[in-house]
């Protein structure tokens, strides 16, 4: 696909026109640019002063700190963003951390599922810790996400809403991934548990067979003890596994809750809400509607029954007071 870059020509024209323009306002420009130069390290206050010298028409906007003075030197700076951007950046950082932890968790799952000689308690604890951490990160992020909700219908609130949607989509994808990993791990755990039981059964059968080949009494008692010990061990094993499964199920449910909350914010792909032109139109109409609602609210408040009641009561109070005074005076 062909494109054509006109930036060079544009810059050429811009410089040429600037040199034509600058001599007209050279004195004031050089004075204020000197001020701007010396105060470039200073606080926003000084910069705003120089701004008003250069651009007397620009209104002072206390919330944003722009850098107009230096821009004429060709170095453009992007101004400081509003406070809520910090929140969104924190959430994004959390999401990133959660992603790295998920990679670790995948490795830990794989390691735990491999047959090992130890009893694998170390691995279990590691998995539990990681899962807890990730779930906490997701929960924290989701709570902070609610902070980004904005009221009002300004452009800034649109930006906030969109940032919120984008982060919600990321969070939802992460939680779905976590759930999938957990459910596969759960499934494999269960499989292993059954295999473990089968293994014990096979062992028992083997011993049972051998018992027939040996002498009876003494050997029976010995084998019974042997079998009992094995049974106890396998019982402990299954209890352990049961506990793990329970924990995994718990975290699955927690994640389900998070997902439910997030699904309100996330855009359904392929629907009308996902269309750019629909969103632009909606902004325009909701602004108008918002205005209408406000006006309506104002009107109903003015006509409000409450207001009337209150005024009537107050008048009645005064009337009664007057009557009382009259009564006192007359009698």
């Amino acid at each position: 696909m062909a494109t054509r870059n006109r930036t060079l020509i544009f810059r050429k024209y811009r410089d040429a026109l600037k040199s034509v323009r600058v001599p007209a306002s050279s004195s004031s420009a050089s004075a204020s640019s000197a001020v701007a130069g010396t105060s470039s390290g200073g606080g926003p206050v000084i910069e705003m002063v120089s701004a008003s010298l250069l651009h007397p028409n620009r209104s002072y906007a206390p919330l944003s700190t722009e850098d107009p003075g230096n821009s004429s030197k060709g170095a453009v700076t992007v101004g400081l963003p509003p406070a809520w951007v910090d929140v969104s950046e924190q959430i994004a950082a959390n999401v990133q951390r959660a992603r790295t932890k998920m990679a670790e968790l995948a490795k830990a799952h794989a390691k735990a599922l491999m047959p090992s000689f130890g009893d694998g308690k170390e691995d279990q604890r590691n998995i539990e810790a990681l899962t807890h951490e990730i779930t906490n990160l997701l929960k924290k992020s989701e709570k902070r996400l609610q902070q980004l909700s904005a009221a009002g219908r300004s452009e800034d609130s649109n930006v906030r809403k969109n940032v919120q949607r984008s982060l919600a989509t990321d969070l939802q994808n992460l939680s779905m991934e976590l759930r999938k990993k957990q459910s596969t791990y759960l499934k494999r755990l269960r499989q292993q548990k059954e295999e473990g039981q089968d293994g014990v059964d096979i062992e028992m059968n083997l011993n049972g067979n051998r018992s027939k080949a040996e002498d009876d009494d003494l050997d029976d008692m010995v084998f019974n003890e042997h079998q009992m010990a094995k049974l106890k061990r396998s019982e402990a094993f299954t209890v352990e596994r049961e506990r793990e499964i329970q924990q995994v199920v718990e975290s699955v449910n927690e994640l389900a809750q998070i997902m439910k909350d997030l699904s309100v914010l996330v855009i359904d792909q392929g629907t009308i809400v996902d269309r750019i032109d629909y969103n632009i139109q909606n902004v325009a109409t909701t602004v108008e509607e918002g205005l209408k609602q406000l006006q309506k609210a104002e009107r109903t408040q003015k006509q409000g029954g409450m207001v009337m009641c209150a005024t009537v009561l107050v008048i009645m109070c005064f009337v009664m007071l007057a009557l009382l005074i009259l009564k006192e005076i007359l009698f």
């Binding site: 494109t3 870059n5 811009r14 600037k18 992007v78 930006v159 750019i276 632009i280």
Partner: protein, 568 residues
């Protein structure tokens, strides 16, 4: 995928090199261009957190210097004025300007003059100046489409505007495809000739450097034809899914507006019909109504199965699986409701307007001979009370287009009956249509009854019989495509511009229909492309027509022609 992916690539390139939070500013035309190929969620992924129209952004005074502004506009004078005002009072930190077509030097001058703050980081031309509704179908969505029907003396500036927009759109298309074509046009159409010549001037003289691409062995072909060579296709009722939805309800930029239908839940009042995003639609957009019904029933059955299994949650595992699959389930639910709503609504309209009956006669008028039988059928339908006015008008128009010269008395009878029955009929509209697109004005053999070969072919088709009476019509475009495929496009009918000439068969063909395309024609193009004949066809027009739009254009043109002639 060709057209859609071309525009998507442009948008991707616009956004990819700019880091940080961005705001995308479009004008009313580029909004459509971007919306059909890019979704809001994809924009969010690219950190574009605000999308605005350039007129509304001028009104706000909020300063948002932490955002970088990406402008994608058409290079019109209004947009340049808006830009100048915004550059002199910049609200954003950085400005990246992209224009969808070629800028004039004066325009760049004006922009440079206003950029005192030097906030503009780049100024580029990205040639996405057409709306890619389907992979091989584009439109220019021109609002005053009717100007092509009027001679140049009536309103020269509007006609010039029309031609400029067409030339811009076609030029942008070929720049996006990186090709320079050989241009042929329809002999009898003045406006096709004018657009062809202006396009040739643009590509070979004015911007020959820009269009100088590496030559393939076979140059592609640009064929510019006039809607009036085939006025029958937009008047017919349609029975394949996409064409039918547009005919009965209306599709605009791949969106269907169902707000006029009562009792719909809020999320179904406007729906998206895009073959890129909807797999069911992609599989069924060219199927006829009967098959669609069956496929939708199958889809609903599948969905009910899934829904039932979702209600049957007994173990924790089931619950977990349900929550996992919930997004999928919700999407499927939305999709099923959408298609069921559309098909229900269309069935209702078919029932109300007795379209099966009307369409049978329409297809007979368009495809088969027999003047006497046709006259009788049309008369019967005109007398039928339950046929709507617009359907009556269409029937008379179709009859008039075919039997213009045979039995003028009966034709007059039909005109009179139509005028007496339809209160809102603007008198003389059918005659106006005949003046525009009558048998003397058309280039090719629309009904296949001019030369012996075509008559024989028609007879053979009649003997073979058709599988579906309602979809037997083949638009003129189909025959044109066949001729091109065989390398037998007649020079007499479609001369070349300048001294180029076509050797053999081209491998890529772009057909531009001045006055608008229809979804029936885009269906034939898509099916032709799928048949792997070695040639890739792309179809485009100044608008996408249905019968309502075509009739509106006719009425507008007639009104202007009347007022201008009364002035003269």
């Amino acid at each position: 995928m060709v057209l859609v992916s071309a525009v998507r690539d442009y948008v991707n390139r616009m956004l990819q090199d700019i880091s940080g939070m961005k705001v995308l500013i479009l004008d009313s035309q580029t909004v459509s261009i971007v919306s059909v190929v890019y979704s809001q969620s994809e924009l969010l992924q690219k950190e574009v957190f605000l999308v605005e129209l350039i007129d509304s952004i001028s009104k706000s005074k909020e300063s948002m210097s932490h955002l970088k502004a990406v402008y994608f506009l058409r290079p019109t004078s209004e947009n340049i004025q808006h830009m100048r005002r915004q550059l002199s009072n910049p609200r954003f930190g950085e400005y990246h300007l992209f224009f969808s077509n070629m800028l004039k030097d004066t325009q760049i001058h004006l922009l440079a003059d206003s950029d005192e703050q030097e906030v503009v980081q780049q100024l580029q031309e990205f040639y996405a100046d057409f709306i890619a509704v389907d992979p091989y179908h584009f439109t220019l969505n021109m609002p005053s489409n009717h100007h092509y029907m009027l001679p140049a003396v009536v309103d020269p500036s509007s006609l010039q505007h029309f031609c400029d927009r067409a030339v811009d759109g076609i030029g942008a298309l070929f720049l996006a495809l990186k090709r320079r074509p050989i241009i042929r046009y329809s002999r009898t159409s003045d406006i096709a000739k004018r657009i062809a010549q202006e396009t040739a001037k643009l590509m070979y003289q004015q911007e020959s450097g820009l269009f100088d691409f590496r030559r393939m062995e076979m140059s592609p072909l640009l064929l510019i034809v006039d809607r009036r060579d085939d006025p029958v296709t937009p008047l017919l009722n349609q029975w394949t899914y996409q064409a039918m939805v547009h005919e009965l309800i209306g599709i605009q930029d791949n969106k269907v507006d169902l707000r006029s239908i009562s009792n719909l839940p809020k999320d179904q009042q406007e729906v998206v019909l895009s073959s890129e995003q909807d797999a069911f639609f992609q599989a069924n957009m060219y199927e006829n109504f009967g098959d669609i019904g069956m496929n939708i029933k199958r889809m609903v059955d599948d969905f009910q199965q899934v829904a039932k299994s979702n209600q049957n949650i007994q173990t924790i595992e089931d619950m977990a699986k349900f929550v996992d699959n919930y997004p999928e389930y919700r999407k499927m639910h939305g999709n099923v409701s959408k298609h069921v709503t559309l098909v229900t609504e269309m069935s209702k309209i078919v029932e109300e307007r007795k379209l099966m009956l009307v369409s049978e006669t329409e297809q007979e008028l368009a495809c088969n001979g027999g003047q006497v039988a046709a006259f009788e059928a049309v008369t019967n339908l005109l007398n039928n009370e339950s046929i709507s006015d617009v359907d009556r008008l269409r029937l008379v128009m179709l009859y008039a287009l075919r039997y213009e010269k045979e039995s003028p008395v009966q034709l007059m009878q039909l005109f009179n009956k139509l005028a007496s029955r339809s209160a809102k009929y603007k008198p003389g509209l059918v005659q106006f249509l005949l003046k525009q697109a009558g048998v003397d004005k058309r280039t090719s053999d629309l009904y296949g009854n001019r030369d012996l070969l075509n008559i024989a072919r028609n007879m053979a088709r009649g003997l073979k019989g058709v599988e579906n009476v309602y979809t037997q019509h083949q638009p003129l475009l189909f025959q044109t495509m066949e001729s091109i495929t065989k390398g037998r496009l007649r020079d007499v009918d479609y001369p070349c511009v300048g001294n180029h000439f076509q050797q053999g068969r081209p491998q890529e063909v772009v057909v531009f229909i001045v006055g608008g395309t229809t979804y029936e024609e885009s269906r034939f193009v898509a099916l032709q492309n799928a048949s792997n004949s070695g040639i890739r066809f792309i179809l485009g027009g100044s608008a996408v027509l249905n019968s309502k739009r075509f009739l509106k254009d006719l009425e507008e043109a007639q009104r202007i022609a009347r007022t201008s002639s009364s002035v003269v």
